[in-house]
Amino acid sequence: MNFEFRSSKLERGKGASSPFFVLRSNFVRRASLALAKRKENEEGVSAGLRRHGDRLKPVRTLFVLLCFATPLFAQQPPPAPAAAPTEPPPCSTCHEEAKQFITNPHARGAVTKGEVSNDACTPCHGDGTEHALSGGDKSKITVPRGVKGANETCLLCHDTTTNRISRKNGMHANSAAVNCLTCHSIHHSDPHQAHLVARPQLDLCGMCHTQSASFRNKPYRHRLDHGGMECSSCHEPHGRPGATVRSIAMIDPLQLTSAGEAPCLGCHTEKRGPFVFPHGANAIGDCTACHEVHGSVNPKQLKRATVWQVCIECHSPIANDTIGSQPPSFHNLNDPRYRNCTTCHVAIHGSNRDPQLLK
């Protein structure tokens, strides 16, 4: 018999720390030593036997057997009485949500070999020992719900305050009508949405902000929830209500760029400028002077059905002191040639070459 233990796991260095492995190794080691001794003894005994003849043979045999057999057949100590369970079983034993928590950002640091430990559950649900040992008594476990759940659970860790965000005082925070758990679902979030959002953003925001339905219903729109853009691409859902982040024209909490610019310029960078000859509406106001950002029935998401209407409502010299009531163009609007202002005034967002934005 060769008791040299071959363990591919040991060779790979994995599993060597397993208690079971240690026990097995010790047992094998003791057995090996015993056998080695037996061989020595056998030789010694053989010499002696040769000296003393066969009278000691039964004794030797018995001795050897006892040396070898004792570790194997020594009477095991009686098993200790089973201790009362002090640690709860894993939450995943009963709760499917706990098994699926493996991808949840709240399980960070609590996952080992694909198993989620109870350490991931206790920060929000409390100590579940009594709950588990009582067979799932619901009164012995915390279930965060509504504004109380948001205040006492989410905001303990996620109470971020910056110049633009306030999770406690923000417009979507901390009231019975809307709070963290209105939009976020820890266990039943949409699997394709980040930040544990309960549903695709257009559906979620559209439950209350019905104007966002414009994105689905109108022909000229930013394509939301089709890759590339979401409501939070432009809006800051944790912002403060009525916060003036750029100008009075943009009072809604918006996702400004890192340079503090309007969110439009995060994508439409070619409109940023600076231009030698800026368009007044853009320079003094912003993109919403001419464009309807939440989807429009008009091409180019303009605020009017025809281009000339957008332009003429500002560029009308009616003896009033407003910017843009110049120049008094002499174009004949009855001629279709002049009803498309941007056919000539091409650089409508600003020009580096022509003060009349012709190129």
Binding site: I102, G280, A319, G324, Q326
Partner: protein, 661 residues
């Protein structure tokens, strides 16, 4: 031990295009690399396949509005886990990458107390070829208009923060935006407009670095960044466009071009600083200060050559060619700062006070050097070349000061209320260029001021599944700066909802109205924008979910304007009246799930049209526990009342393989 090898996928078929192939290959490598980060096999979900398009009617309008084409597509991919070698959390999301038109890839990974890395990649195919937009030839049935483009926009945003220290968190970031591709445009020259082919390449890049800090009672962030851009556009006369848009003559001379070419360059850089500090003065008082400053500078150059038969009223001559060289530079200095105090009177009642100022100054100058070749006067005499040099300047300065005060009471049982007031003072000074062909005077340059006073209030109530919300805002101004600025504006919103039967049913109704006005003589500006929506969602059984939404909106605007050809005044009226109804059903008959929805939207008024949408989706797990098939059908039908150049019906059928583990 043999090291695991990462096997790259075979090159994808070339008909997808090299960029798409490279991207999909990169995604695969990324996914496999992410997998090797994990000690265990992470959960993974992917849906990918092919989409077929069957299009009838205007392909230009379909692509302008929807732009879903035939091709390979990764509809969705999610890989997430919380166990790994180099990262203890990671998430990869892909949405609609491939034939597009829009797609995204997001990566978020990090290791606790060490680092966090986020990467967002987005791509969009921007297409526009509207039949009527910029189309003076529409009456002749020539479509599309003369301003079209078929361009790609690709964006990358990457940020890395170092979380090793508890009080300081340094970070670096990089953004990149490329917008490029062909298009058509027009150019007015010598008395007519000519169609040009355009090739555009815009590149914008930004690097940023900074740190967040958290020292006991003080926290904040400082970011220093630098944006650069480089724009290049070449334009050439389109084949067959030499006769221009206008068939007539000017002073008996037919206007035509035998060649037009233009090469435009612009570049610039913008360093910026963005900082904020919050300070918890006491348990109930917090101060927040923020500051942003950016200083943008740009340079531009243009070289243009044109040959043909043209007329110029500026120099009162006919000419046969033009050489144009323009160099310009522009500056934009903007800074914005504010201070905010948040006072918690009690645990549920807060007061907020905010003051901020923004200053923006724009300045531009251009040297415009034109050489009119082979010119003669209107009498056909005095042949010579004529050179003009214009040194154009303009500047604009804008200041805005805003002061606001508000209070909110949250969690008062089922109630939450908020009220606020603000004053905004705007001051704009414009300096026009006297060399422009305009009428000088107060209607152009000068100083314009405007004070806007705002009041707003809102309240919500939620109890036993019922909820209600009311919101009101009133703005009043003393003067307009732009003609379309309001003097008064009232906005209202009312919302009601009910969740019942154990959250199995949700009902909601929303009504909104906005009424901006300026009733001064010469303006008579009035607008009323209203929207009413009711929606319902229900799950009468575990396997069924229904949804229904009806919406009605109406916009009526009117403002006085002056006809440029007669100087007579008239009223510009715009009306939108839309009704939409949509419904959907989703149910599961294991192992198949179905989702169906329909939408009908009609708009009458200034731009009447009908839009219908049908979507069906079936997901099957018939193949295997981990594999499934998804089949999708989407139909969009668009019909304009008159003219019908833009009508289309687009059917998309998608077959996707779904794998999850």
């Amino acid at each position: 031990m043999k090291r695991e090898e990462v096997v790259l996928p075979a090159p994808l078929p070339s008909n997808l295009g090299p960029r798409t192939s490279n991207l999909l290959g990169a995604i695969t490598v990324l996914v496999l690399s992410a997998t090797t980060l994990a000690a265990q096999t992470p959960p993974f979900d992917i849906e990918a396949g092919f989409r077929f398009l069957d299009l009838k009617g205007s392909g230009d309008m379909y692509r302008t509005q929807i732009n879903e084409r035939s091709g390979f597509l990764i509809r969705s991919l999610t890989l997430a886990g919380n166990e790994g070698t180099f990262a203890d959390f990671y998430r990869v999301d892909v949405s609609d990458l491939g034939v597009g038109p829009s797609g995204s890839l997001r990566v978020d990974l990090g290791k606790s107390n060490l680092y966090r890395f986020t990467l967002a990649y987005r791509q969009t195919n921007a297409f526009s070829a509207l039949p009527a937009f910029a189309n003076p030839l529409l009456d002749q049935g020539i479509v599309p208009g003369q301003h079209t483009y078929d361009r790609e926009r690709r964006m990358i945003d990457a940020d890395l923060e170092f979380d090793k220290w508890s009080t300081i968190t340094p970070f670096i970031g990089f953004s990149w935006n490329k917008y490029s591709g062909p298009g058509t445009s027009t150019y007015t020259l010598g008395g007519d407009e000519f169609l040009l082919n355009s090739s555009l390449a815009n590149r914008d890049a930004e690097i940023r670095a900074g740190a967040s800090f958290n020292f006991s009672k003080f926290s904040g962030q400082l970011t220093e960044g630098w944006q650069t851009f480089r724009d290049h556009e070449t334009l050439n006369l389109a084949p067959g466009a030499g006769t221009g848009n206008s068939s007539g003559t000017i002073l008996g001379t037919p206007i035509s071009a035998s060649g037009i070419s233009r090469d435009d360059h612009a570049s610039g850089h913008t360093p910026y600083t963005n900082a904020y500090v919050t300070s918890q003065i006491t348990n109930r008082v917090r101060l927040i200060g923020d500051y942003v400053r950016l200083s943008a500078n740009s340079d531009s150059n243009e070289d243009e050559n044109a040959a043909g038969s043209f007329v110029s009223f500026a120099i009162s001559r006919l000419f046969a060619g033009l050489t144009d060289q323009i160099s310009g530079d522009a500056h934009n200095n903007t800074w914005r700062g504010g201070l905010r105090a948040e006072i918690g009177l009690t645990d549920k009642i807060d007061l907020f006070a905010d003051a901020r100022r923004e200053h923006r100054s724009l300045e531009g100058a251009a040297l415009i050097n034109d050489l009119f070749l082979q010119s003669v006067n209107f009498g056909g005499l005095d042949p010579r070349d004529v050179q003009t040099v214009i040194n154009a300047h303009n500047s604009l300065e804008r200041d805005e000061d805003v002061v606001s005060l508000s209070g909110s009471a949250r969690s008062l049982g089922p109630f939450a209320v908020r009220a606020g007031a603000s004053i905004s003072d705007q001051d704009v000074t414009v300096t026009p260029d006297l060399a422009e062909i305009v009428v000088p005077g107060a209607s152009q340059g000068g100083r314009f001021t405007r004070r806007v006073t705002s009041l707003d209030a809102s309240g919500t109530w939620s109890h036993s599944g019922y909820s209600a919300e009311a919101w009101w805002r009133h703005d009043s101004a003393d003067d307009p700066i732009l003609r379309t600025d309001f003097l008064t504006r009232d906005r209202y919103r009312l919302r009601g909802g009910w969740n019942g039967l154990g959250n199995r049913i949700r009902l909601g109704v929303t009504a909104e109205e906005s009424t901006p006005k300026n009733d001064r003589t010469g303006f008579d500006y009035s607008a009323k924008i209203r929207q009413l929506t009711a929606d319902a969602e229900g799950a009468p059984a575990q396997i069924v979910r229904l949804r229904l939404s009806i919406s009605r909106f109406r916009t009526d605007t009117s403002i006085l304007y002056r006809h440029p050809e007669t100087f007579a005044t008239d009223t510009s009226i715009d009306i939108e009246s839309g009704n939409s109804a949509e419904g959907g059903i989703a149910f599961t008959l294991t192992p198949v799930s179905f989702d169906a929805s329909v939408l009908r939207f009609t708009n009458s008024g200034s731009n009447p049209f009908t839009l219908e949408r049908i979507a069906l989706r079936a997901i099957s797990r018939l193949i295997h526990e981990h594999y499934g098939l998804t089949a999708e059908w989407n139909r969009d039908t668009y019909n304009e009342a008159s003219p019908s150049y833009g009508d289309f019906r687009g059917d998309r059928i998608g077959i996707y393989l779904h794998y999850s583990r």
